[in-house]
């Protein structure tokens, strides 16, 4: 198997969510002299982008997205320490949590997996995360993006409480804020002053990358 074949096979295996094969090919690729960046950017990430595209077209379904994301996360466990050692930055750090008063986490966990699959370093604070807890974690982890999840119309107002806490702590401009959850809408996201809203896990990943790219281009300019 040459390098090109390996990258192609890894792309296919990720698309199918075949975690053991993806892991095997990751190790084989490294042994062959491929760099973590090549494995990531020329195979794994394009594959997961294709998963997202298929999901959006209605050709792929939630479990397929999940296993692809997990297969990719398995490869990343091997690649991440190597990339850290060689000074390659992760795509970005994403701090995630379900707001205070809310214990729903199925959707949030799905977004976690897809973000990890896309190369983000994800820190999940779990459910019932109070505004002060978000503030502490932002100070501690310095994420690029923080994501608030809410499943109930009664807990959605915590988005605003979280935003206020961020403002008060002087952190609002330090992070990109994304919100999501079943009852959440773009209008609501705008009303609380979030930077972005996505309706599903695949859209969330795309948006996270876009917002981050935009912020970084602004920072450079």
């Amino acid at each position: 198997m040459n390098q090109e074949e390996l990258l192609k096979q890894m792309y296919e295996a990720t698309l199918l969510g075949n975690a053991p094969v993806v892991l095997e090919l990751t190790n084989a690729g490294l042994a062959m002299g491929l760099t973590p960046e090549i494995l990531l950017f020329d195979s794994l990430i394009p594959s997961l982008e294709e998963v997202g595209a298929r999901f959006e077209r209605g050709d792929f379904f939630v479990p397929e997205m999940l296993i692809a994301g997990r297969a990719m996360a398995g490869a990343l466990e091997v690649l991440r320490p190597l990339m850290v050692a060689t000074g390659v930055e992760p795509v970005g750090t994403f701090l995630m949590g379900t707001v205070k008063g809310d214990v729903h986490d199925i959707g949030k966990n799905l977004v976690d997996i897809m973000l990890e699959g896309a190369g983000f370093h994800v820190i999940d604070l779990g459910v019932q995360v109070a505004p002060e807890r978000f503030v502490e974690a932002i100070v501690e982890h310095k994420p690029d993006i923080v994501g608030f999840s809410a499943f109930l119309t009664t807990t959605m107002p915590m988005f605003k409480a979280n935003m206020n806490a961020l403002e008060k702590a002087g952190l609002r401009n330090e992070v990109i804020v994304m919100v999501g959850g079943a009852p959440v809408t773009q209008e609501y996201a705008d009303a609380v002053g979030a930077d972005g809203y996505a309706a599903d896990a695949s859209a969330a990943v795309k948006l996270a990358k876009d917002l981050l790219a935009r912020r970084r281009s602004v920072a450079v300019a």
Partner: protein
């Protein structure tokens, strides 16, 4: 155990020996962008179509949820309840996590309503159960608390038992007026979730003997061919002890699956309802 809910001119009895209670889920803006915008603009006209389609589809109760972000949910609930009761005599299930919306809905509603829902959190119980008692309504209780949505059926039973105990002993609500939601979860997120729901239904049926309802559409979320999944899930859940579901009553595949379940589980004596449905469908086809 029989739970009776009503409108001024119709009674619906929920129970293990009764035809399965089909609660139509459609009057709910979650995930319906156009409907959300209409409701925010104070336009409730779309509800008439939702009512008509669900009545035609065979709903026995209609769920009413007016949870639109950035809108006055209390006012919308009052208007919706008034409007729906003019359009149909099916009893209603008032669905909100906003206590004021439930209160306003209950005050407006004519008859004995079902309230969706209360959790096992102490502050929610203390806020909602007095309302339910005062209005003589029935309540759907979710076995989750402020810490978790339990995966384990035994833990769900424990929380269900807590709600039942608090409702009956502290607030004097009749046992038959407490329905438990055994929590239906998406099979697409984890293929072990639905069996946990079925186990919970069995446990609650044998330990508490109360009526149960759940959001059947949750099960097929994110999967293809949702109708077939629902049409198989519902009879499985009925056999386990589920007596009602909040479901897509416009789907003939789902409603027929439930009515077949009634017949096969001996809740449709001599197949009268099953045969009558067939006959009216044939007549409709011939006309």
């Amino acid at each position: 155990m029989h739970t009776v809910i009503s409108s001024p001119t119709r009674e619906v009895v929920i129970g293990p020996d009764q035809p399965f209670c089909v609660i139509g889920e459609r009057i709910n803006p979650t995930g319906r962008k156009i409907f959300q915008e209409q409701l925010r603009a104070g336009d409730l006209s779309r509800i008439a179509l939702d009512v008509a389609q669900q009545v035609a589809g065979g709903a026995t109760v209609l769920d009413v949820n007016m949870g639109v972000p950035l809108a006055d949910e209390v006012e919308l609930m009052v208007q919706a309840v008034t409007m729906i009761q003019e359009l149909t005599d099916l009893p209603l299930c008032l669905d909100s996590s906003v206590i004021e919306a439930l209160e306003a809905g209950l005050s407006t509603y004519q008859g004995k309503a079902l309230v969706n829902s209360v959790t096992a959190e102490d502050d929610r119980l203390a806020a909602i159960l007095p309302l339910v008692k005062r209005h003589g309504a029935a309540i759907i209780a979710l076995p989750n608390d402020e810490f978790e949505i339990p995966y384990d059926p035994e833990r769900r039973l424990e929380l269900a038992r807590k709600v039942v105990t608090v409702a009956t002993t502290e607030y004097g609500i009749a046992l038959e007026d407490v329905l438990i939601d055994p929590l239906a979860m998406p099979i697409g997120a984890d293929t072990s979730l639905v069996i946990k729901t079925l186990e919970t239904i069995e446990l609650i049926a044998s330990e508490l003997g109360v009526n149960m309802t759940l959001g059947a559409s949750n099960v097929s979320f994110g999967m293809p061919d949702r109708a077939t999944l629902g049409a198989v899930f519902l009879p499985l859940a009925m056999r386990a002890g589920l007596t009602s579901a909040i479901m897509d009553a416009r789907s003939s595949e789902l409603v027929r699956a439930v009515r077949a379940g009634d017949l096969l589980l001996d809740r449709d004596p001599w197949g009268g309802a099953w045969i009558a449905a067939h006959r009216s469908q044939r007549a409709a086809g011939e006309s």
